[in-house]
């Protein structure tokens, strides 16, 4: 379930914590395993990570379902992580998400037919000053408008 390469990477994280506290590496371990599994986590991969770190499956699942960084459904090559917390919402994120959904022809949580883009609503990304905003990869896009969104999305390959 977990490749040797992934295990090697996880081990470097385990080594950062005191002995017997290997479960502290759960976030990185989930990330590493997710990267190897088409950018998503299944019930079985979460259990495999938990087994590897000698922790209960449910404890790993708590982490995997709490953070937005982990995907539990198929995702596209690019994930548009749209903030919908209070600052963005007050600045119109609901309408912008609706616009994005219409433009792409998918609902949040779904992937476009060509597998290029998926949209995900996420919790506050700490960029309220530029609300409304979303994140694609490592890049933040702030002060969004419908036109701006069209430009960004059209530029995605």
């Amino acid at each position: 379930m977990i490749s040797d390469n992934a295990k090697k990477q996880i081990d470097t994280w385990i080594a950062k914590y005191p002995e017997g506290r290997q479960s502290s590496a759960v976030m990185e371990a989930l990330k590493i395993v997710q990267a190897e599994n088409e950018n998503q986590l299944s019930h079985d991969t979460i259990q495999a990570v938990a087994d590897y770190l000698n922790m209960p499956g449910i404890a790993a699942a708590e982490v995997a379902t709490f953070y937005e960084n982990y995907n539990h459904q198929p995702v596209g090559k690019h994930i548009i992580r749209f903030c919908h917390n209070i600052s963005c919402m007050l600045n119109g994120s609901d309408d912008l998400i609706a616009h994005l959904e219409t433009k792409l022809g998918v609902k949040t949580g779904e992937v476009t037919k060509d597998g290029l883009i998926s949209v995900k609503k996420v919790e506050c990304l700490g960029a309220c000053v530029g609300a409304p905003m979303f994140q694609i990869g490592d890049q933040y896009y702030e002060n969004l408008t419908t036109d701006k969104i069209d430009d960004i999305v059209d530029g995605l390959k």
Binding site: H43, P56, I58, A59, A61, E123
Partner: protein
């Protein structure tokens, strides 16, 4: 902790510095509402319901997580405290469905109670409520997670008490759900306690679903008798039926937890196989008759077969280990008055010459403070859940625990586990004793001269020697070891040398009661196995089910079925096997239906009343035995209630058993050894008839575990059956032995 004084609502109270405020208010009887706080669980302070006002602190504080300090002034009832509590209540009710009329928790719901006091009658929340799809987490617990208020008591119970984190909170914010991760649902042997700790109707008893309201039932305190703990329970009854069992509090026994076995066994009481009327066999045909006819038939039969011819030595008395102490006492008195010394409750032992004699000289509470335990031959978690719980607490407090078993059992705490074949246990212990004696520079007795101490012996000897306080626990898997008696003696000897304690869990239920009541043969009488081989003319049986209870199941059935053997069988349940050999069937009251006492591992004599009346014609066994004695014209049976029997029993001195003073080890077995254990939910007749327990994962256990080399030797493979039980080949097993954990009868099995 220093004694301090604090002021709560203008009242000065004493407290210890550092204890939590809620512990103080609880002690003083000051009511502070709470949901997530539970005195036996860690503090999560997540529900916020226990907010109180502390002078000098700007914001209200949660009393479950606030340590008290000298001079603290607390207001639990002022405007600020009330307003905060009310606000929290309003938040909690946002998503909580107002379905109390169809909720099983209605009437005993902490949320309902607190809402009455603190809630508003009008909700300001007009948005949609959160709904969580129903999920099935097993046959014991009913979930309705839409009602969950995320107090996490069940989650903390799982990780902190049950030792297996099965429930958890997935998702985030309003998507947070409390659920198990595994599709198999909840499997802990203590899972039912989650029902007790759940403050709302999210987790309720599945067998009890939609049965009744809590206020319709009478709650009677009682004692659970399925194991050596004798957990304190409340049996809740309605119209003469036990409808539910919940845990009672007794720090010295079960704290506030009970095993699922104790909680759900009551379901068996209403099983269709209950024996409800006296029956006699006339020319091979069973006939339901009145009590006096049946008793007369029994007495005449006994007279004809044994008593008239002064053949009391050809009468045998056998009882199940679940009988009450009073029943054991009365039955042995009856038999002994008749001049019969053949009586036994030890039915599951292959060789009674090798019966284990071992003291239990440590109390349950004391187990928590030991620093080393050596567990031999026990899957403690399933066999004695509450004893296991105490050891787990010791381990969490830093104790080391070693387990020596045929199989690497799944303990719910950290153990140093060694798998050792049954044939090697005695050698191992002899090795330990030898190491200890050598280190203490004590001359070796002859029987240790040729023993060589292996690595494991050295390691365990060191651990025992280094421990300040240790305990050796000897379990049920040893009872049929060819060297069982020697093993018990070695354990006693080792414990004496290291000034440690011993705990004998090689028996269960009320076996200690049987010993206390002298329900064992003296040297002039025959034990259970001898009776099976002897030329008997009659048997008196007390709740015996030979196909499960006897080690020599088929020999027992054969012995009882012999022509011209008259069998008076007092039973709570009927079945085809009994019908074949018995001549008279007398229906007895089952657990919960009779008064008496149970003796637990602490040697506490815990007495209990009948919670409900026995159904139809069934009578408490002590009454049946009393009347039988009267009809047999025996003196001294003028009892009006079971308490009089207990009183008489208290003045009875217990016979000392002949301890073999010189330790001589029996030759070890060279063949493949089989350890047959009934699965935890099939260990007595009531449990075997409890429907929901049988459906649970533990109740479904039916495997014969063996190592690959053992399987090869037996020419078995995965998918085959061993003694009628599916084979499981595993690296967890020692070689040269098979461990069977089965929900089936031992019939056709071991001989």
């Amino acid at each position: 902790m220093a004694d301090i004084k604090i002021e709560i609502d203008g009242q000065i109270v004493n407290a210890k510095a550092g204890e939590t405020l809620i512990a103080v208010t609880d002690r003083e009887g000051i009511s502070v509402p709470r949901f997530c706080y539970h005195k036996k669980l860690s503090t999560s302070a997540s529900c916020r319901m226990c907010l109180v006002d502390i002078e000098g602190v700007p914001k209200p504080q949660t009393s479950c997580s606030t340590p008290v300090s000298d001079g603290m002034k607390i207001h639990t009832q002022n405007d600020k405290a009330k307003a905060s509590q009310k606000a929290v209540m309003e938040f909690l009710l946002i998503n909580h469905p107002l379905d109390c009329p169809i909720c099983d928790q209605g009437g005993e719901c902490e949320l309902q109670d607190v809402a009455v006091e603190y809630g508003s009658d009008v909700s300001r929340f007009s948005e949609g409520k959160r709904v969580i799809a129903a999920s099935d987490i097993g046959p014991l617990i009913q979930t309705d997670m839409t009602r969950c208020i995320h107090c996490t008591r069940c989650v903390r119970f799982g990780s902190e008490i049950a030792g297996m984190m099965e429930m958890g909170g997935t998702g985030r914010g309003e998507d947070l759900k409390i659920e198990p991760f595994l599709a198999q649902g909840i499997t802990s042997e203590l899972s039912g306690n989650m029902i007790d700790v759940c403050p709302v109707g999210a987790l309720t008893s599945k067998p009890f679903r939609y049965e009744l309201r809590s206020w319709q039932m009478a709650s009677v305190d009682s004692i659970a008798r399925h194991d050596l703990t004798g957990s304190n329970i409340y049996a809740q009854t309605y119209k003469g039926q036990v409808k539910r069992v919940v845990s009672g509090d007794n720090e010295a026994v079960n704290e506030t937890w009970i095993s699922d076995r104790d909680r759900f066994s009551y379901e068996g009481l209403a099983h269709e196989n209950r024996l409800l009327a006296p029956q006699i066999k006339v020319s091979g045909q069973w006939k339901e008759v009145e009590w006096d006819v049946a008793l007369d038939f029994a007495v005449k039969g006994l007279n004809k077969h044994v008593l008239n011819n002064r053949k009391a030595h050809q009468l045998g008395g056998l009882a199940s280990n679940t009988a009450t102490t009073e029943e054991f006492y009365l039955m042995q008195k009856l038999l002994r008055e008749l001049g019969c010394e053949n009586l036994d409750y030890r039915l599951n032992i292959n060789n009674l010459e090798q019966a284990i004699e071992l003291a239990s000289n440590i109390k349950l509470e004391e187990l928590e403070s030991i620093d080393y335990a050596l567990v031999i031959g026990s899957n403690l978690r399933l066999e004695q859940p509450m004893i296991n719980h105490r050891l787990r607490k010791a381990q969490l407090a830093g104790a080391q625990i070693s387990a020596v078993n045929v199989k690497a059992f799944d303990y719910n705490f950290k153990t140093n586990h060694s798998t050792v074949a049954p044939q090697e246990i005695a050698t191992l212990l002899a090795g330990i004793l030898k190491c200890i004696l050598e280190k203490q520079s004590i001359e070796l007795p002859a029987y240790l001269a040729h023993v060589s101490s292996g690595e494991l012996s050295l390691e365990l000897a060191d651990k025992l020697l280094n421990a300040e306080s240790s305990v050796i626990v000897l379990g049920e898997h040893i009872v049929n070891n060819a060297q069982a008696a020697g093993i018990a003696q070695l354990v006693t000897e080792i414990a004496k040398r290291v000034k440690g304690a011993t705990l004998n869990v090689s028996m269960t239920a009320n076996a200690l009661g049987a010993q206390h009541a002298n329900f064992v043969p003296t040297s002039s009488g025959m034990n259970a196995n001898e009776m099976l081989k002897a030329d008997m003319r009659a048997f008196l049986l007390l709740d015996v089910y030979p196909e499960y209870d006897f080690h020599h199941a088929s020999s027992a059935i054969e012995a009882l079925s012999k022509e011209d053997v008259f069998v008076v069988s007092i039973n709570s349940f009927n079945n085809d096997v009994i019908a074949k050999y018995a001549d008279v069937l007398l229906p007895m009251a089952a657990m919960y239906e009779t008064s008496g006492s149970h003796i637990n591992i602490n040697h506490d004599i815990q007495s209990f009343k009948a919670v409900v009346q026995a159904p139809e014609e069934a009578k408490p066994a002590w009454k049946i035995l009393k009347v039988l004695a009267d009809l047999l014209e025996l003196p001294g049976f003028h009892y009006e209630n079971s308490t009089q029997i207990s009183g008489e029993l208290a003045h009875q001195s217990v016979h000392e058993h002949n301890q073999n003073s010189a330790l001589a080890l029996n030759a070890k077995s060279t063949k493949i050894e089989t350890i047959w254990m009934h699965s935890a939910y099939h260990s007595d007749v009531l449990l075997r008839h409890a429907k929901s327990l049988s459906m649970s994962k533990i109740g479904q256990t039916n495997i014969a575990s063996m190592s690959a080399s053992t399987a090869k030797e037996l020419s078995l493979k995965e998918g085959d059956y061993y003694l009628g039980v599916p084979v499981d080949i595993t690296s967890d097993m020692a070689d040269g032995c098979v461990f069977v954990s089965s929900n089936q009868a031992t019939m056709g099995g071991l001989q």
